[in-house]
Symmetry: D2
Subunit: 406 residues, 4 copies
């Protein structure tokens, strides 16, 4: 047993940390200013600073660190990447700067694993190069998508093409003008066994029949220009070569995609929780009430301590899940991944809520970014499967240990 | 002991309910559409529907129901008004439609209690008539305003005038173009005993030196055109007649103001929680997952039951506090008011969080109003004193029961 | 709406309070000393003080206050009795002193409502007179008794008799040598519709075939001489006249019994929570740590305040449920009774846990009675239906409001 | 980073596991039976099975595994011992069987670190050999011992002796007839600086003036023959050579002792939580309610999953603290030790409470050991410093990171 980060991990931590100190935190402010300067009608334009920073990060080799395969980047193990990802979770634009942002990472994962050489050349390469961005069209407004078998989008073979009809929402990133490719989940055969009805298919964002209906604010934030979009697919026609892996194998792909995607979110969530704790502590140190500094009021001692404890525990579980992905594989690490998917946002939201309380009115407004982080992390209790579904999966493992009935 | 609402209360409940069914719920949608139609640059304009509805409500005598004194309206007791206020809490625009909205009610309370006839004629009457709106300038960004003795705004006598300097924020409602008068808390004598330094003074919104610096979004919502503003007061000069009650009596006024204001918020909060529970239940009834309707998953049975239990308890405590204000007076009801100030938002936030979870992605976006309600109610754990301060006050009562040291 | 206790309630509160101050609190200590003096082999004997105090209470007319029907006692309404019951909840022996103790009250209720004149003469009258005690044999160790349809005890007609076979546990009070009569729930017809299989029948404690197998400690408390017994019924034969109400009507009786029984427990639970809060406050006032009295540490301000808030809310809900029983009947008050059945123990356990923490090591041992109260109240989350079953029932009401499917 | 247990750890896990399967679980039942057979007057006698099992364990080299120094046993690192300790936490008698039980381990630690050769020969060696047992006399009933500077026991030099006067309680293990030596904390100089007043001194259990006043039950459990005793020291005279380390160095010793002691408790607590989860799962698998197995009710899916998540996280934090003790030392690991001291009992109590609920009435009684485990672990939130004190310490570290004032 060894809780120390590896030399390689520490090296990347140091380099990413230095890069962030030098460029990214300041870049985040520039990004905000540039975005503000576009005015209300320019919210869906991309502030130019982002591409400048991407170029710099790429030049320094801090690029595509998310994938363990050295073919695609430095090839950090999940365990080595986890602390790096945590670091990028401290700053809004950081993941994109290093080309490690959702949903691109998950979509690249799919293309790496299941894409044909042609599909990889056309879509994976530009994603790896940071030239385009992508979206994942899964959730549908009309059904409980927590149970993915409910999905209704229709993918029908028609000669050499597939024709797609459906309505998707929470297609995050589809608001970005650089978003060029969608991975769409739908049903190719509603008469097949429950888990063999679904397929995934590649749909270019500019395909005829693709209509972005609206953006979905998260609490009051539009998250522009990234955005979470509602998209109607009306008789969208793509060549049959766009099918991923084969008809009826959508569930298999979904499984392969979600593990890494979930854990990256969790790693960054730990980083966000650390920032919240730091801000809470700093705030408490600077204010007085009822005759003494607020940090000396014991209610805050308790809350700060609980935040620290919870963060430490959530981090360790995240690291362990990452290590298991490296050592026994994503599938065998499924229960642990589900656990942190539940635990990390829960911990971070609790810390954030206390941090908000510590800041008084400043906590709920924009000045410290706490309310925005809260809103953003609240969605993680729903995205990629709500807590209840993950808890269901975790419990099944426990029940199976003691029964062949469960 | 009698838990039944009085005949008078039931009569007003029926009339307000009918009025809301007929005009207000639909009006709320019209309001949103009109506001949207103004476009991004018109966010701080007031949708015309609101004044139309106010005129109708006034015509039907559903006006100024918030105050027990029949001089100012129908003169409902607090206990009779509480269920009516709860009803208005179900709908965003309702409180204003009936001229029962914060912060006007609290400000009118101050003017009724402590205003001179001249002050009443100039500011109270137009407020009672719904012709103008008002703001309350208390909290300051630089200090922990949870301890009101920290407040730094300077009010200095200069001949026949007072000259005011300071920076205020969370001045809710000051974004509204109809907002014409501010009640400002500041210090007239920093050498006086701790609770005799503060004074309250009337400052017209258009006074020279008043500068609205920015609006403070709440979890991304600007709450326009109402708004929560940051305001700089720079050498603002008002005649000495604008002083309320007398120099050094600001704390006394604050006490008198806050009781009713807090309880009205709590009453409406119960209404908001009821709406959230209703929405949660309806949603659960309409979706299926894993082979059965979601409402049949026992985790939701527990959450719905807990919501119902918590709402019932919080409502009863609110009603009791209202009844005590009627029977033993606002001062003797102080502990109970503090209790619901803590309990009501806490309960409502818990119900809302579960309701969000029940709605999946729809919960965090605008479609069901849940995220917005969450954001708005989260501020109630800070506004008019954070939970910690109220708990401190409640605990002091308990400690005093068993000690003369505490 | 009127939150004031009635004059009659206040009169009984004053009289019961005075009687407790004069006799019962001291009696409680005498009871403990007498019980201790019996030594380990005398744990199931009854300390004589209890009958002395019963005689006194009866003489002062503070007797059988639990039932609203004046035929059986003073005939206090449920709402008037609730605060009195709360008062008796402050002291271990008090309920019995006033002949208002479980499970006798519930069993008397059954005999009042469903007993024949002969059954009433033989068993109800001595119970009303405090001459005997009783037990209720419902729960069974082999099945999930949370779903009462699972109950397996067999009641078979045999000529002019019924023959009963089964195993019961948590038969509280059956340890007391004065316990002379059991009400037993079992099945007379396993082929009948689900809710018509059960019957209730009277079984004298000394009937042949009744075997008390053991007592069940609660945490480590034997609760002697009351006790919670496991009882085997082996070919126990009773005359057919012992059947209550008629074969197949056991569920109906259970419903009629449980409402009042549950609410009495809740009323007393509020009293127990009040005592815990008092003890917590007193302890905090007397100790110092880290340079100041512990009550000045703000973590305790929060906990004391939360205890006060929770107790107030739980009390109000209990009172409302009682008032509904008086005004609309036990059946219509079912949801409210379920709510307090869940809420009251939860609140009391939270307060007790904090009180334990406030007392340090003294909290978990016998000196302040806190651990014992905790153990005892923890069973209330299971007795008379576990929380989950009550929450299920409460949620059904909510679902039904918005659907005819639920 | 490596989450795998070392080969050495796995070896000991396997051997201890096999030994437990073969001897200890069954031994636990024998122990209970032998103890019961002593009758009420024999509760403070030690069932003979324990010494038989100790001899066996010693023979197999599964002895004194708690200490990293190979001079005293196999010399497992803390990280290697942690999973072994967890295993022993599954069974009541296991820690003692392997001579790894509190408070002996902590007391041996003190003697190893601070004992003179003579002290070691007289007391350490027999403890290492399992020939005697020991107690630690720290907490006092009259003062808030959470702040150890409050301690009042007087240790006064008198010629070649020290004379000790004071009252101690929660002297765990002092009920055991084999308990021969106490380590006593007291004050040698009340005028010295706050943390230099205290000393620790060795007091033989049979010294004149030592009077065991009573045993303190924990939630009704006497924990005999171990016991938690209240002890009066009245003019107890010991030779000056019994002083540990030197006058005024009691705090230093307390610091050195508590780290390992705390973490051993936490390790075992994880084991107890695992057992509770197992029992909960097994129970849920075997019962039906409302038409389906209880484990299929989704409320239990959530609770089981939360238990699993919380246990995993608490275990990882415990392991990390152990690893830090090995790598950076007990002092540098102080914050982490404080964290698990708070987290582990909290997690275990939550799991136990749910497990109790899952078992219905069987949960609160003796049949499954859950209530007893709850009672025992509840004391851990108080023993060796209450949660509040550890949280205070943890928060100080956080505040210091961002300030030199804190």
């Amino acid at each position: 047993m060894d809780f120390a980060y590896s030399a390689r991990c520490n090296d990347y931590l140091a380099r990413v940390g230095a890069f962030m100190d030098k460029h990214v935190y300041e870049g985040d402010e520039i990004y905000e200013r540039q975005h503000q300067a576009f005015g209300p009608e320019g919210r869906w334009k991309v502030p130019p600073i982002i591409e400048e920073l991407k170029a710099k990060a790429k030049a320094e080799g801090l690029w595509n660190m998310f994938h363990p395969n050295p073919k695609f980047g430095p090839g950090l193990s999940n365990a080595d990447y986890a602390p790096v990802a945590e670091l990028t979770g401290r700053c809004h634009i950081a993941p994109e700067v290093f080309n490690c942002a959702a949903p691109d990472t998950g979509n690249m994962e799919v293309l790496m694993k299941y894409g044909t050489p042609a599909q990889q050349e056309e879509w994976l390469q530009p994603l790896l190069d940071g030239k385009i961005r992508s979206a994942f069209l899964m959730t549908e407004p009309q059904v409980a998508s927590s149970d993915a078998t409910n999905i209704e989008t229709d993918i029908r073979r028609d000669g050499g093409d597939y024709v797609i009809n459906g309505r998707k929402w929470w297609s995050s990133g589809a608001g970005d003008p650089r978003c060029k490719i969608y991975i769409v989940m739908g049903k190719t055969d509603k008469t097949a066994p429950t888990h063999a009805q679904q397929s995934m298919i590649l749909v270019p964002a500019n395909a005829k029949g693709v209509k972005i209906v609206r953006h979905l604010p998260v609490f009051g934030y539009d998250d522009a220009p990234h955005g979470h979009m509602e998209i109607v697919l009306e008789n969208v026609r793509v060549p049959k070569e766009n099918m991923l892996l084969g008809e009826g194998r959508g569930f298999e792909i979904a499984q392969g995609r979600l593990g890494p995607g979930r854990i990256h979110h969790c790693m960054r969530t730990i980083g966000a929780a650390e920032v919240a704790l730091e801000k809470m502590v700093k705030r408490l140190l600077t204010r007085e009430a009822f005759g003494k500094p607020i940090y000396k009021h014991s209610i805050w001692e308790q809350r700060v301590a609980e935040a620290r404890i919870d963060i430490e525990m959530a981090r360790l579980l995240t690291l362990k899940a990452a290590w298991m992905m490296d050592t026994v594989g994503n599938k065998a690490a499924q229960a642990e991944i589900a656990m942190i998917k539940v635990a990390a946002p829960r911990v971070a939201l609790r810390v954030l809520d206390d941090a908000i309380q510590a800041h008084g009115g400043a906590g709920v407004t924009t000045d410290f970014g706490l309310a925005r982080a809260y809103a953003s992390l609240r969605t993680l209790r729903l995205a990629d499967g709500p807590d209840e579904v993950h808890c269901r999966a975790i419990s099944k493992v426990e029940f199976k240990k003691h029964s062949n009935a469960a």
